[in-house]
Amino acid sequence: MDNLCANLLEEAVGISKGGRVVVVEDCVQMSGAFVLHHFLKRSLYPDTSDAVIFIAFAHPFSHYERILRKMGCNLTVHRKNHRFVFLDMLTLECPDRNGKETRQDGLLALYGEIEKAVEIYSSLEGSRIITIMIDDISLIEVAANGSSNHVLDFLHYCYTLKAKYGCSFVTLNHEDIYSSANTLPLILQLEYLADVIIKAEPLATGLASDVHGQLSVLNKGSVCDLGGSSSKVRNFHFRVKENIVDYFYPGTQT
């Protein structure tokens, strides 16, 4: 049952060959954090040697460790085995007193740390996909004092690692905090750059006890692999349980 259900999301996202950008968008009514946890666990499967660089703006290490332990994945062990790098950015602040420079410097230093880690990991033996995860983008914007341009600069630099090292990206962002503005440059820009867009929404029909919400997965097909016609859209419901998430097509759950 576990494999079958997980496969619905996996199937929609497609087999990861690395070098892909996944954007998860959620809203106040429906948190998309579980999708992030899913990808985290997926990248740390014991049968691969893939590594994860996790940039946490939202929660401390212990938070993720507790969740992932229930899902059967021990982050502390992975951290010791050099498969998991946790960058705690809860306290990252880029004060604006001295003008633009400081704001950029904070993000520049963070980017430096990421690139350093990627460089070290890719020089190790064996082929591995390095996944960079960010939880979440809106808090980078907070750290950058609301300058979405700086956030985009930072993300652009992160994405350049894709070309050289074949890194994958999974980022979480909140869609509804941008809805009031007439234009949504930040979220639109992210969607232009993304290969897979996953949206977590509450049910359109209202609340239900056995369905917690729905996911729409828009897989653009990897344009970088020059086989762009494989784009597909999937929509399914999910139910978040204590240590597992059930994914099912609408109406198939009795």
């Binding site: 950029q104 520049l108 980017y111 430096g112 740390e113 690139e115 350093k116 460089e119 341009n149 985009l152 600069d153 652009h156 630099y157 350049t160 070309a163 050289k164 234009t183 949504l184 440059p185 639109l188 820009q189 969607e191 232009y192 750059l193 949206k199 929404e201 359109a204 729905q214 729409s216 828009l218 653009k220 097909g221 344009v223 970088c224 020059l226 086989g227 762009g228 016609s229 784009s231 597909k232 859209v233 929509n235």
Partner: protein, 376 residues
């Protein structure tokens, strides 16, 4: 008219005119602009290699995709990338647009952050200084063509990226400088319209002689972003779109053309607008169990029906029906009816409504309840 665009870019600038410029525009609803850009780039490249075009080579300003992407693209299209230095220069504004990598290298945080490609690239480390970008574009162009002779094409893979770092007037200045430069054969650039204010698109349109818009096949009416209800439509719009091209002639005339665009394998195919357009629109109407449309026969039959009282006023005095006939009229009608009867059987195809009154005793219509006097 993708071919017309390619021809115009191939023919380049006429003597004493500015270089032709193309702006490709798309939105998040149909983000196929980069496919169009790649298509035009490869078409132009093959023209250059065949010696058909005015331009001797291309200067590609890579902003939203790494040079390695273009190396892969050209290789897949069957071009010899190793000898590309004769006709292609890449100004790499993707890898390090703000000089961060350079700073980190100086600090010793990272060793070699730059990617190596087969293409001949030149790195731009400060995108904010547009004047330097401009001079390096022209320098690279002059490297391809020998000094003083020949012209080169300029391709900018996303103006949206430059707009993030610089103001609109400065970009307009750069573009108009490139237009009027006597060694530039043609320019084409890509713009994601919805990332910017409306004035940006308008400014770029004034500066260009051709615009190609990629629009969704079915326009969203509510103006909202993707919702889960129209997912099939979203899937469609990532595979095909309308391709709307406008050419501005020298005399001020604008020629507009519409085509359709499909993503096919690794590239795109542009075809004439087919009747499929209508079929898609029809298939979008929800399937219901009853007819929403009339068949041809039903439509003809309906047209034939003469509505009651429709004939009134055509030559005859207008009568207002009050439920009973006056004496002389009924006499007249009886006579007429006997005469007319054979005629009506002849053209039975004409529809009519026949109404027989039960008797003269029937009360004319009134609001009174006919069962009022019943004692139940």
């Amino acid at each position: 008219m993708a071919e017309t665009i390619c021809r115009a870019l191939r023919d380049g600038a006429f003597e004493g005119e500015h270089a032709p410029a193309l702006t490709i525009k798309d939105t998040i609803d149909t983000p196929l602009g980069s496919f169009v850009f790649n298509h035009i780039l490869t078409q132009l490249t093959s023209n250059i290699l065949a010696g058909k075009s005015q331009a001797r080579g291309v200067v590609l300003v890579a902003l939203s995709r790494p040079p390695s992407f273009y190396a892969e693209l050209l290789k897949n299209k069957g071009f010899d990338v190793s000898s590309s230095s004769k006709w292609l220069r890449v100004l790499d504004c993707y890898s390090d647009p703000l000089g961060w990598k350079n700073k980190l290298m100086e600090r010793g945080t990272v060793r070699n952050p730059y990617e190596e490609t087969l293409l001949k690239t030149s790195l731009c480390k400060n995108l904010k200084e547009l004047d330097k970008v401009l001079s390096s574009i022209i320098e690279l162009g002059k490297e391809i063509v020998e000094e003083g002779k020949g012209r080169f094409a300029v391709a900018i893979d996303s103006v949206s990226e430059i707009l993030r770092h610089s103001s609109l007037p400065s970009i307009a200045r750069i573009l108009s400088h490139l237009h009027s430069h006597d060694q530039v054969s043609c320019i084409f650039c890509l713009l994601h319209v919805d990332l910017h204010e409306a004035k940006v698109a308008a400014t770029l349109e004034y500066l260009s002689t051709m615009h190609a818009d990629v629009e969704p096949i079915v326009q969203r009416t509510n103006g909202q972003r993707n919702t889960s209800e129209d997912l099939p439509m979203v899937e469609q719009s990532f595979k095909r779109g309308k391709f709307h091209v406008r050419f501005k002639r020298r005399n001020g005339r604008v020629r507009a053309m519409r085509e359709e665009l499909y993503v096919e394998g690794s590239g795109i195919k542009i075809t004439e607008v087919s009747s499929e357009d209508g079929i898609t629109a029809q298939s979008l109407v929800p399937k219901v169990q009853f007819n929403l449309d009339l068949s041809e026969k039903e439509r003809l039959d309906r047209a034939k029906v003469v509505l009651p009282f429709e004939h009134q006023g055509t030559g005859k005095p207008i009568q207002i029906y009050d439920g009973r006939k006056s004496l002389n009229e009924s006499e007249n009608e009886e006579k007429q009816a006997s005469v007319e009867k054979p005629q009506t059987t002849e053209d039975s195809g004409r529809g009519e409504i026949i109404y027989f009154r039960d008797s003269d005793d029937e009360m004319p219509d009134s609001d009174e309840d006919p069962d009022d006097d019943l004692d139940i």
